[in-house]
Symmetry: C2
Subunit: 403 residues, 2 copies
């Protein structure tokens, strides 16, 4: 319980990260692939564009027919065909000819440029009022993507344009890492769901809601459970949940000074690798490896649990999907002196406004409002005794935590 | 078609924003409220904590009994009861007495402080080795939230800690704005879904995938449709979709120089407020108001459609949910000269690395790879003729666009 027996934050993070494994691979429809992680290199099956096509509405011509053309000196051409997107002209464009063409339609044989409609007048034939270079307003077959190109590398976190690229390469299903399925087990006999009247010592189970949202914010799939502080029941739940989910997160029952029920059960079923971390809030954090699966044991206090999630859990659920987003730390100026204890990392709820950060006035880890009103953590590492007013400090914006 | 006849970007944005209306309000379970927008002020029904409780595992005592206590001078107390979280002691703590208490358990009557277990030894009774002030390690009833407090204001975009606050205030259902339902109508007879062999002039419908993901990235609900370039069919789809969805987004058929089918249908059914914007890519953008609903008409070209979405559509789908996130523009140093045409806003796909931004070498709006390989737009406003190498320019990071 004294600081010297607690694990430093960085050591705890390393122990956890070393144990984390990637989830299995699954094939999913490309339409559902936004924010998924590609599980193997994907090669294009097609050229894109699939044929050389017009980039403009206008006329497909031989560029040399337009040399010297201008508004004052228009060049007449004979229109021999017209084609819309979706069809191909059977005519070959020869000297003095033009084919009216829509954006996206295949270039007719013989033509090497497209004159935009705006630079023409349609008379008997057409008159061209500008001079073109070969290739002008033509999108060539394969200029965006070539058949056989690697379209997307393993590990890519898919964004909207990536999906267009994969589709254009001929793919309607792709291999991705499964989103990890996370059992969240809230422990505490005193906890009840929100209601208007509370009896005696009842407390509302607010962790149910935050943990669900936090797991969702890591793009994992939460399923929520509640259990009383009963060792037998907790043990049954552990065994059952670790069969059916990729990881287990618990809240409550992690006190360090005594055999609290959750950590005790973890010790009986597997190996407790961490119990107690030199951080504040969040000291009573534990981590176990049971049945080849990770078990994150968080404090029952809402604020401590949220900080433990952000520092000890979040990245690991991302890593299970092979998603590696570095923790984005920025430097801001402290608006007042912030004391801290040597040997313990502090995560202080704070408000960043431009370059200034102000720690909120917080009594303890019960104060949910401190999380609601803040937009960031000030991080004071173990080796610092706080920050002076006007000094620089490290800050993690909550927004930067999300993927 | 010439620049002077195109609407400046800012004017187009203002025309659209003036027309946008909020969606209806719905009551949803609090568990599903992450990333929803609160539709009215929500008042707490309860105090939180609901009773004064211990913040630590230890002993509830009268602080004055511990004055002067230390490891060398422990003060003995008689243990008269012990309580866990979820139960309340019936004993009143008087001078010389202590009740063993778990974190979160209600303070027994008469006690005004809790001594942490670590600073005690359990003998016959207990010995206290530290001196306490009244209130120490006690969380008082209502210190976080008071019954009648406004817990959450109308317009709040809900994050995980907010849900804990709402739960603690007694709410399990809350009023939020409906996520807008968006019909996405992809037009183009040449378009087919991804496949390994393309016939003649067939082109893969990559917009199907990007538009779905883009609408999802605005937290709206997309439903995708495809229609051939047939005026009658397009009109039927418009009428049908505008009955059943909150807004319509189309791609294709928006060329400015001629009566392209989509804009023509919009003109027949309602009022076309915008047709052609002085931007690149994305000039052939149109916006109509039909049946009291917004219709965003995008280009058929994937890259143009994406830029039009980001600049002309995205914010409006957010505003429909009463979500107002300012467009975050940063300033970066151009790694090379970037030419631009006066009177037209350019959105140049670019790569930001630290303080430097490099425009990608891009030929046209067919090049999907330019979107995939970039992480930002360089924005060159209408009144600028480009940026010199080493000059500052405005940049929108794609990441900053997401909510």
């Amino acid at each position: 319980m004294f600081l010297s027996t607690l694990l430093p934050v960085q050591q705890a993070i390393e122990i956890i990260q070393k144990s984390i494994k990637e989830t299995d691979i699954e094939m999913i429809p490309l339409e559902d692939a936004y924010k998924r992680v590609v599980a193997m290199d994907i090669v294009s099956q097609l050229d894109s564009p699939p044929f050389s096509r017009s980039a403009m509405d206008g006329y497909a011509v031989q560029a040399k027919d337009t040399y010297g053309a201008s508004a004052k000196n228009p060049k007449p051409l004979i229109m021999v065909d017209q084609i819309g997107a979706g069809s191909k002209s059977l005519v070959t464009v020869e000297e003095g000819m033009a084919v009216k063409i829509a954006t996206g339609a295949p270039m007719p044989d013989g033509a090497d440029a497209v004159v935009m409609e705006e630079y023409t007048r349609e008379e008997d034939g057409i008159e061209v009022e500008t001079s073109l270079t070969p290739g002008e307003n033509v999108s060539y077959q394969g200029e965006d993507i070539r058949k056989g190109d690697v379209l997307m590398k393993k590990g890519k976190f898919l964004q909207p344009p990536d999906l267009a690229m994969l589709a254009s390469g001929g793919h309607c299903k792709i291999p991705v890492y499964k989103r990890p399925s996370i059992a969240v087990l809230i422990t505490g006999s005193e906890l009840v769901m929100p209601r208007l009247l509370l009896k005696d010592a009842e407390v509302i189970n607010s962790n149910h809601y935050t943990l669900k949202a936090l797991v969702e914010s890591s793009l994992a799939i939460p399923t929520l459970f509640h259990v009383d502080d009963d060792e037998g029941r907790v043990k049954e739940m552990f065994i059952d949940l670790l069969k059916n989910y990729d990881a287990l997160i618990t809240t409550g029952g992690t006190a360090i000074s005594k055999g609290d029920v959750v950590v005790k059960v973890a010790e009986e079923l597997g190996e407790v690798l961490i119990h107690g971390v030199a951080m504040r809030p969040g000291k009573p954090f534990a981590y176990a490896w049971i049945n080849d699966k990770p078990v994150f044991m968080l404090s029952g206090y809402p604020v401590a649990a949220m900080v433990q999630y952000d520092i000890m859990v979040r990245k690991n659920l991302e890593m299970m999907q092979n998603l590696h987003k570095p923790l984005h730390i920025v430097r801001k100026i402290a608006s007042r002196k912030i004391p801290s204890t040597l040997g313990r990392a502090d995560y202080i709820r704070a408000l960043v406004e431009d370059d200034i950060v102000t720690p909120l006035n917080i009594k303890g880890s019960t104060i949910i409002r401190s999380m609601v009103d803040s937009n960031s953590y000030i991080v004071i590492e173990e080796n610092l005794e706080g920050v002076d007013k006007g000094g620089e400090c490290e800050v993690i914006l909550y927004e930067a935590l999300r993927v």
